[in-house]
Structures are given as structure tokens and as C-alpha cells.
């Protein structure tokens, strides 16, 4: 069953078309990554899916409920961490969580129990009665996550949840996403952090200039570019770039002390490099062949935007 379903969503701001005919289908239990460079339309899309923005055209359904026709009912099915949405800094950590829980109709005993559980898991039990204004950015983000997961929602929307966080807070956020997914929440995650998407997501959609340019599993997306491979080589001596443009190599890039040679078939390229080293009396320090990473697939899909 598609727990998140968007059909032909479009949104323009003046003459700028931020999202252009985007359709998305996320199955129950998936961690869905929505990738794109800055300004690609990720946040506008998530705002339409969560009922913050009304689309110009198209529709979105959460757990089968139309978000624009029945916003309250649809929002009860979701927990959200907005990109710029912080928690109330004049309230305490616990007040923020308990107040959020009331929206979902949780009774006072369940609210308290769930708040205790989440504060403990997020390492904030000692700070529960402190005003959020005194918290660091990482701690505020943890409270933001606590508010999103307090009702144990069937769908969790996270818009760049790890942006600007330290390593510990980032790790905690990623672990929380996995935990919520294990407990049954479907996760919709927008990010431009490829490593994060690769680590977490089962399915990825890439958006660029308001349009979806690819959708599939992370492995399938990588395989889309499998025809292109590269040989990475480091020499002890300096070499001229034009020496490397042979043996079926169609592009040469310098990466620090290494050269990256793109080719459809690494075998003749490696043989050519060995011959080149012998002819020019070059010492090879390292050589490796590789297929593109998800990051390279992303760069190619988005045209390096």
C-alpha cells in the first residue's frame, strides 16, 4: 500500500516554478530519501505533502487521506521535523513534548509516559524542566525530534534533519530514524547529504529544478551509471594530463595526488597505464578501479547543480 501518494504536484511562486508535476509513491515501512541540490524543490514538496502549502495543481494523500480536503485528519497520521521549524524556546523541553502530544489526543498518562521514554532515549531527562532557550542547537533538534515522534506516527517527515549538527547529535538523529522505522513508521527524508541517504534509505527520488529526475533503490540508481567506471592512479613523479588520455579513457580528472580516468572498460586503460609507466620510467604508488558512488550518480542526475 502507498502510505504517501502524491500525484502531479506543482507549485509556483510568481513566475518561478518551484515544483513541476511531481508524483511520489512511498510504500509502508520504507525509508524514502528525497534528494536534490539546494533550491531543487525538496522543501516546497514536503510542505505540500504535510499541508503547510497548498499546491497549485495535483493532490497528496497520507494513509489514504487527502491532505488538502481533510488536513486535520491527515496530519494526525504524521510527525514532522520542518527544515526551519524549531521548538518553542520559551517553554521547557517537557512542555514542548506534552503540548504537542495533546494535539494527537493522547491522554495525560500516555503523554507523560511517552515523554519520559523519549527524553530518556534522547539523553535529555536531566534537562526536561529547563527552558529550551538555554539549549544548544543539537539539543533543540533533539526536542524537535521528540515532538515529531511523540505520537508514534505512521508517517514521519524529516526535512534536512541533520543540517548543522555535531557528530553525536547527527548519529542520534540517524539512530532515531532507524528505530522509528523498526517500530513501524514510514520515513520520508529530504537531504542533500548523499552519505546519509545511502546509509538510511531503501528508496530514493532525486529532484532537480522542480522535477523528479530519477527514482529507485540506491543500488539501482548506482547501477544506472554502471556503464561508466573509473581507474584511479597515483604516480610518484608528476605526469602530463595528455599522457593519460588514451586506452579508451574519455575523461581525466585530477583529485589531489591522484588521477581519475573515466572509461567504459577499465582493462585496456590499466594495461595502457602500466605500459606508460614503463615507457616514461614512472613509479606507480597506487591503482584502483571503481564504479560510481551514489554521490556521482547524484551529480550526474542533477548536472552538478
Amino acid at each position: 500500500m502507498d502510505i504517501i501518494k502524491a500525484d502531479n504536484l506543482s507549485k509556483s511562486f510568481g513566475s518561478f516554478r518551484a515544483v513541476d508535476n511531481v508524483s511520489i509513491a512511498v510504500k509502508e515501512g520504507e525509508i524514502f530519501g528525497f534528494l536534490g541540490p539546494n533550491g531543487a524543490g525538496k522543501t516546497t514538496t514536503i510542505r505540500m505533502l504535510t499541508g503547510v502549502l497548498t499546491p497549485d495543481t495535483g493532490s497528496a494523500r497520507i494513509c489514504g487521506i487527502d491532505i488538502n480536503k481533510h488536513p486535520l485528519e491527515a496530519k494526525l497520521k504524521m510527525g514532522i521535523i520542518p527544515e526551519n521549524g524549531t521548538v518553542y524556546s520559551d517553554l521547557t523541553a517537557e512542555q514542548n513534548i506534552l503540548w504537542t502530544a495533546k494535539f494527537y489526543g493522547m491522554d495525560s498518562i500516555s503523554r507523560k509516559k511517552r515523554a519520559d521514554e523519549i527524553l530518556s532515549y534522547l539523553g535529555l531527562t536531566d534537562r526536561r524542566n529547563d527552558i529550551v532557550r538555554t539549549f544548544s542547537k543539537g539539543m533543540r533538534q533533539r526536542i524537535s525530534i521528540a515532538c515529531a515522534i511523540v505520537p508514534s506516527p505512521p508517517v514521519l517527515f524529516l526535512d534536512e534533519p541533520t543540517g548543522g549538527l555535531d557528530v553525536f547529535s547527527r548519529r542520534l538523529v540517524l539512530d532515531t530514524i532507524r528505530r522509528m522505522n523498526d517500530e513501524g513508521s514510514t520515513v520520508f527524508l529530504t537531504t542533500h547529504n548523499i552519505e546519509e541517504a545511502n546509509e538510511l534509505c531503501t528508496v530514493i527520488s532525486v529532484i532537480n529544478k522542480g522535477k523528479i529526475v530519477a527514482t529507485g533503490s540506491t543500488e539501482r540508481l548506482k547501477k544506472t551509471f554502471d556503464t561508466t567506471k573509473y581507474v584511479e592512479i597515483a604516480f610518484e613523479q608528476p605526469v602530463k594530463k595528455e599522457w593519460l588520455e588514451s586506452g579508451g579513457v574519455f575523461r581525466v580528472e585530477n583529485h589531489g595526488d591522484k588521477w581519475r580516468l573515466y572509461t567504459d572498460d577499465p582493462d585496456p586503460a590499466v594495461k595502457y597505464l602500466a605500459a606508460l609507466a614503463e615507457r616514461e620510467h614512472l613509479k606507480i604508488i597506487s591503482v584502483a578501479t571503481s564504479t560510481p558512488t551514489l554521490e556521482e550518480a547524484f551529480v550526474q542526475l542533477t548536472g552538478g547543480a
Binding site: L72, N84, Y88
Partner: protein, 247 residues
Amino acid sequence: MDPSLFTRSVLLVAEKNMRIYYYKGAVVIFGLLFPFLMFLTFFIGRNLNLVLFFPAFLGMMLFFSSSSTGPLITPWEKREKTYERLLSLPVTLESIILGDILAGALFGIVITTIVWSAGSLILHLPLAHPLLLAVTLILGGFTFAALGTLLSSPAMSNPSNVMMVSNLIRLPLIFVSGIFIPLSQLGSWAWTNEVSPLTYLVDLFNGAINGNAVYPAGLDIIVLVVVILLFIGSAKLIQQYNLSKGI
């Protein structure tokens, strides 16, 4: 839309506003101190009859206190970046607007009730129509809380700018509503009192306390109800427009 879900969202938005905004400096200054200072400025040394003047003072108190939280909430939330979080909760734009108005109205009603109670005890004020006084407090509270919310609706994220604009609109209303300047002295500007909702509120207070209203109570009530609906409708249209533009 489920009415119980909607009501819950309105009450929770109001609860949040009461916890956060009642204690903000701008609310205390413009909602409490300002009307008292204005009263003292105009009352001291002018040999006015305090009992006769009291309904107008109550009107001014309710006007300032009810309309003081509204202008602060949305700009404050946009600046603090909590507005998007609020929108992402199970709320609608209507429940946010009504929650803001409810918080403002309750603030004004409670403060004005305290002032009226104190005034009654000290000045032994008459009370011609107790039920009408209750209706006046509720209607007045909601009218000017709706005005406060309307004033906060244009796309401004700096609360001090909104407070400045709101005072630019609120202060002239005081002077054209017959509170400090008798309507007979307004001359060719006398017509302005009829377009000010504050005139009808003060008239209701006069009717409830002294029993000497100028207009029939029914007319005052209809005018205030229409004004509430107008303010809410305008606030919704403006905020909806802002949201569609992503601001």
C-alpha cells in the same frame, strides 16, 4: 472536518499563546500599563466624574488588553521560526487564527473584569444590566482580539514593527470614540465615531453599567458581531495569501 478535532486545535493554540505571550514585555506595556497611563493623563486635573467616566475607561481597558497579544504572536513566531512547526501540527489556518483570538480575548476579559471588580468595590459603581455587562466583555474581548490578529497578518517578522503599526491604528480609534474627547467637540469629525467599533463597545458598557446607552443594545451587538466576522475573514484572507506566496 471533525468539529472536535478543530475545537481541540483551537484550544491548544490558545493554550500555547497564553503560556508564552501573556508575559512578553510588549503585552504588559501596551495591554496593561498603556491604558492606565492614558487614563491618568486625561483624568488627573480635569475634574471628571469618575463614575460616569468609568464605562469609557473599561472600554479602553478591554480595547487595549484584548488587542495587545494578537499583533505579537504571528510575527514573533515567524521570527523565532516556530510558525512552520505550528503549521505542521494537526491545525488549520482557521484554528491558528481562532486560537490567537481566543488567547487575546481571554486576556482582555480577565484584566477588564478585575478592573471592573476593583472599580465596583472602590467607587460603588451601579450595575444596570449584569447579563449585558457579561455579553459586552465577551463581545468586546473577541472584537479587539480579532483586530489584534488582523494587525499581525501582513507579512512582517519583526514584532516591534507590528506593534508600531498596531498603535498607529489603535490610538486614533481612542480619540474618535468619545472616550477622552466628547463627541460634541469632534465637530466635522463627529461621523468618525460611527465607524469605530470602540464607540459601540463603550455604548454597551454605558448601557450595562449606567443604563444610559445612546444606541439600542441590539444594534451595538450586531455591529460588534459583524466587525468580528470582518476582522477574522480579512485576517484569514491575508494569511492565506502570505502562505501561498511562501511568506
